[in-house]
Symmetry: D3
Subunit: 132 residues, 6 copies
């Protein structure tokens, strides 16, 4: 049970309806997941978040599948179950197979480990790693 | 100043020296960065960490550059300056340009934002995101 | 199921009972929530935590509702479901409506995003932001 | 030294210049802080981040000072020094005095403490805290 | 439901089977918990993780019970429910009673609190705390 | 430079002076570190934090050295440099040598790694780990 009720299509204000229309059109599916149904209580937040996600996750200098895997890496680090589930599903839909998923998580685990070794030892940064 | 002194080459025990040799051989450079010089106080930890990192970051189902970018994503989320600096440098050495870096950070920022929106609203997971 | 059993009123030692009495008197309700029933296994921890929370959340330089919203902001950032649920309920009881909740979470999301952009880019602090 | 060079005004592309103009106009000052000078390498990211921050931090259901204090609370929890410094300065400029700052941090500290007590004990959520 | 199916004994490849044999032999029990059954999808990750955990948690300069309590401390800080549950059980099996658990969590809570006070105030490090 | 000035002994109000006296008496040294000099701006926060830390870190069901190591584990996980430095120094003063420190950090690193593997895979909790 979410903190605010999830809005059904017939409960949306016009501004939220317009965002849902764009989600459906952009994704080519009628399905709108719960995240947006919770955000729909604040159409300004809904619109900004959707447009930001759409812009950030579009093809660019990085491939959309790589972007989804980065999303999973952050979500696993923060332990956001909703985001782990939804972005793992999205990455699979874009071609991530089990071997790729397991390697992704192996990197995430290793980074989380060495982050703490570097923190705990307060290792000074090598000059070689700084920009010229 | 690190919590334990950084060991110079002539201060290494034999076990640590063997790891440094492998780092140099694997990377094709004489340079060994401070992280390993701090870990060298515990040759068991040094060896396990190096061999794990070498295994995890090798080419596999994912490209080494993608792995470096995932490392940066986790390190930026955790704010480990040492790891941000060293893995950003490593990713650049493998081909990441400024446009790719900025897009990578854009995804990291967006994931950190929506992670908290999903947390704060306690959005229930859609059945569509669960494995069959 | 919590890691230690939740204690019922008739299972409390005298020291824990005294804390529960103060919780009830301070809040003007007979209801004592599960958090305190778990802490009651360690009456020293229970007493210190309750007295600290009571002191911190009392009216002072900041309004109690603002304090509850700050509590929600931290709990959403850390993804502590128990604390998100209990402090969102407490903030609502003190007057937070849906519009305020959604704006609160919008700020929390944005701060989590820009925290990582600043981390990932290692932006140096402007002199203007430092105390004189 | 940031990961990418901070751009001076005469190094900005037209799209970035337009954002800087809006920052100056909105804030009524010629000063543009380093965060935006780093983001200026990616004018799309710069524009989206600025417009999002401007929208989120504007007066609404919550007071701008309350929003700045929530920003500080998140940044202190995540330990983003840049954001702690810049948003503490912003909150002071909007009226936060030392007493308010110390109380704010007291709440942040307490929330971070009880978040971990609730986590470690895995306290089940009381029915009273769930929406009807 | 985990993101990948948990593998039963008769679904393991030979490499994974060898790791499960070592888990059973090392722990002196036939029980292999779900964590390893999920990792078994990637026998390289499974083997490295198991051998690392076995090495790290063995008696050494620190007592195995102390190590388990440190594991719980980290897991409670990160709010990883699986690790809180499994390592609290492991610590109990090695002799941690309720009084020790409650004190452990009290320290974890206090550290999380003062970490944020130090962050929020950006307290400079005393020379006395730096190595000579 | 801290966010609020560090108070010298002759700048303390009477309530803060009384806390500093107790710090000196309890620790048997005239040295009072910067953390308390920053908190001294809010004598109520100073007193509560000092008395809480004194109570939590006293000998009890756990040894004070074990408690200091747990403090370091949490601080390294959160990357609070001030707390890493001060509690590593405190643990050393109570008997932690380099071998113990390196093993402590090895456990912290491993826990941070497996926390994310368990998160990313959303491993369900084994019944064996739940209380009866």
């Amino acid at each position: 049970m979410s903190v605010v009720p999830l809005l059904e299509d017939d409960q949306l204000c016009d501004a939220a309806k317009a965002v849902f229309d764009d989600i459906r059109k952009t994704r080519g599916t009628d399905f709108v997941n719960n995240f947006w149904r919770a955000l729909a209580h604040d159409p300004v937040l809904l619109k900004r978040t959707w447009e930001s996600v759409k812009e950030v996750m579009a093809p660019g200098a990085l491939d959309p599948l790589v972007k989804e895997m980065i999303y999973v890496a952050v979500s696993a680090t923060n332990n956001c179950e909703y985001c782990i589930r939804s972005h793992t599903a999205a990455a699979r839909a874009k071609g991530m197979d089990d071997a790729m998923l397991m390697e992704l998580l192996a990197v995430v685990g290793m980074a989380n480990e060495t982050n703490r070794l570097a923190n705990g030892l307060q290792v000074p940064i090598d000059a070689a790693f700084l920009p010229d």
